[in-house]
Symmetry: C2
């Protein structure tokens, strides 16, 4: 592999590569093991996809049953219709569904549909928001060209005026806005959405016939059983999904309303594995289990318990921290930690003590996490805070 | 689903939608069943991915064993290293490997690497060649913008002068050439590569420091156990792979030589499921089985037997046909069939008689096809030719 490893799972890019295992062996519930046999409490959940915990019995059973029949075939299986119906039934704004493999396939397809529907080229995106790693959206510009982003205009998350200015710049070539449910740009503090900002984006789109696209890839089904902006009562026209919807099996989805159905029919986007049945069977089982097991509530409860105690620990050690974002997707940063020295030390100590978390990327809680798992994780974080304290004392 | 179904597996776009089953149920070997229980001899192989036949025991066993441990985790499994080593050992030009999900991820990543390495923007592609369905390459322009293709310059497949002219147009901004192993642009007759054209592209790249990218997504491991241009002794710098390498499990790969290693390290491209272990385990088992079972030779033999007899049948019915491309990826067109009336009638009759083939897209033979399967398929094609004959007689 070039450079040892690439992409978001490369530990070569972590400031503490020696502390992190590069290769994983297996997982069960909220526990994961690396190839050297070390066990960790999992606070990354494979960077989001694992929502019910590793090896969830219901999901795995659905996978095995579908695999015995077929996966990638000359046509989709009936699972595709069942999954489309389940998602359209569950997500308020959705009248139709399409499926792909990567979250980035879904965000890219959403933009294509919006351009086809409006006949316009310009889309608005928040500066620094992650929508995938294709040339139009990868956070690193290496290997991209200015033309890849020629039709994007940037605004600042939660700053409606900046979005209005971007829309004005798009003028009569304004196709749509793509936005995440809250601001989760690594390595910054997370920032919940201001509901007046969300409503303002909706109004901005309505005023010009542009589309509002919610990039629910990272948050979908972790915050809410429908779309992540249903609790604040803002419906997008199109939403992009992936990660948690099949508990780790590779799938993404684009959901849309009837206004964009014709355009979705006219765009040609496809992939060899986009119709494969196994990940759709996994998604169906995942959606059912997330509802039945009240997984969102469990993740929230465990996340809140973790967060409360982390605050307490930091205070006891006399360390200033900030915990941001929803409890199910926690993130911890240190006051004054400009170069991430404290975050790195904290993460390195945590991973050595058996808690898999990340110094620069938001964490994820799964519904498989038990109260005992939270307690075990907290023992490790207490010692990790101690190490940060000693680091500060030395300085 | 918008329009009933989307993408290449949509039968709504086939001229004989009522004849084709939209939803498939299961497969075994070279046999597939639709959701109504109709059985077919499979001459599409899921549009390429199924190379050893459906439910190949060795591949399925590797999948089950890996699934019991883990698939999508906080880091890749050891399977990733094993697969990279297997591919680099098997494909002559390759010194390193990266993995993704879609063939289009691999072709897109290849272009990014080439741009990063050369610092140039312009890439050359054959007009009409299929390299995926992202905005820069989808065959339908709906939802794309001119900027998506601003850095592509087109040439004509097998026409070296046109490629030289395209390179001249790129001038000192010439990054690379992306090309398929042979011309397989639906619905045209297939066209094998002229080896002097391939050598000419290699020389064109060498003269300017540009990269030669072989898009082996559709052909890889169906024509040859290494890269598809090894038999004609032309090595690309980078190659893109997907479809057949994991017998239907979702994976793609980019292989490259050491000249492009640094650039591959610097580009940031990634995906939630790009490190998943199950499809890598499937690919390892597939590569082993393709070699052990001499799958390429079997596909070639079955394809040749099919082709010879199809020629005979057409002659006996007095119908002029052309069979083009490699025997493992057969395609049949009818003389003077400008509007595909004959191709459609032939395909409609074949599918009704239990042979799954396509009127407009090349077919695929799997190594699971037995001589008896070929005979059964030929009984159906003989009757299908008869129907085409009657159609001609009526006219």
């Amino acid at each position: 592999m070039p450079g040892g490893m690439y992409g978001h799972e490369s530990v070569t890019k972590l400031p503490v590569p020696d502390s992190y295992p590069q290769f994983m062996s297996r997982g069960r519930g909220a526990h994961v093991w690396d190839v050297d046999g070390n066990e960790y409490i999992d606070l990354m959940c494979s960077y989001g996809p694992v929502v019910l915990g590793h090896q969830h019995p219901k999901v795995e059973a659905a996978v095995r049953a579908q695999e015995a029949k077929g996966d990638c075939q000359n046509g989709p299986s009936a699972r595709m219709v069942e999954l489309a119906e389940a998602l359209v039934g569950r997500v308020r704004h959705a009248d139709w569904a399409m499926f792909a493999k990567n979250g980035c396939d879904a965000t890219t397809l959403a933009l294509m549909i919006v351009r086809a529907a409006t006949g316009h080229r310009k889309s608005l995106a928040a500066r620094g928001s992650y929508h995938g790693a294709a040339p139009w959206c990868t956070p690193e510009l290496v290997g991209t060209t200015p033309e890849d982003r020629a039709n994007l205009i940037y605004f600042t998350y939660n700053d409606l005026e900046s979005a209005q200015a971007a829309a004005a710049e798009a003028g009569d070539d304004f196709a749509g806005v793509i936005v995440t449910p809250f601001r989760h740009d690594a390595p910054l503090d997370q920032e919940l959405v201001d509901s007046s900002f969300a409503r303002g984006l909706r109004a901005l789109c309505d005023a010009s016939g542009a589309a509002l696209i919610l990039d629910d890839v990272r948050c979908g089904f972790r915050l809410h059983l429908g779309g992540s902006w249903e609790p604040i009562d803002v419906d997008p026209d199109i939403s992009a999904w992936s990660k948690a919807i099949a508990n780790g099996y590779a799938i993404s989805a684009v959901l849309g309303n009837d206004r964009f159905r014709t355009a979705a029919t006219e765009v040609f986007s496809t992939g060899s594995f986009w119709f494969s049945a196994v990940s759709m069977a996994a998604a169906l089982a995942t959606l059912e289990a997330v509802a039945e097991e009240r997984a969102v509530e469990t993740m929230q409860a465990r996340g809140q318990a973790l967060r409360a105690k982390l605050d307490e620990q930091a205070m006891q050690w006399g360390i200033g921290i900030r915990q941001t974002g929803p409890a199910q997707m926690p993130f911890l940063t240190f006051d004054g930690d400009v170069d991430l020295t404290m975050a790195n030390a904290f993460a390195a100590q945590a991973i050595r003590r058996g808690v898999f978390l990340h110094p620069r990327h938001n964490w994820f809680v799964s519904a498989a996490m038990t109260e005992e798992d939270v307690s075990r994780a907290l023992e490790a974080t207490n010692e990790a805070f101690g190490a940060v304290r000693r680091l500060q004392d030395v300085e």
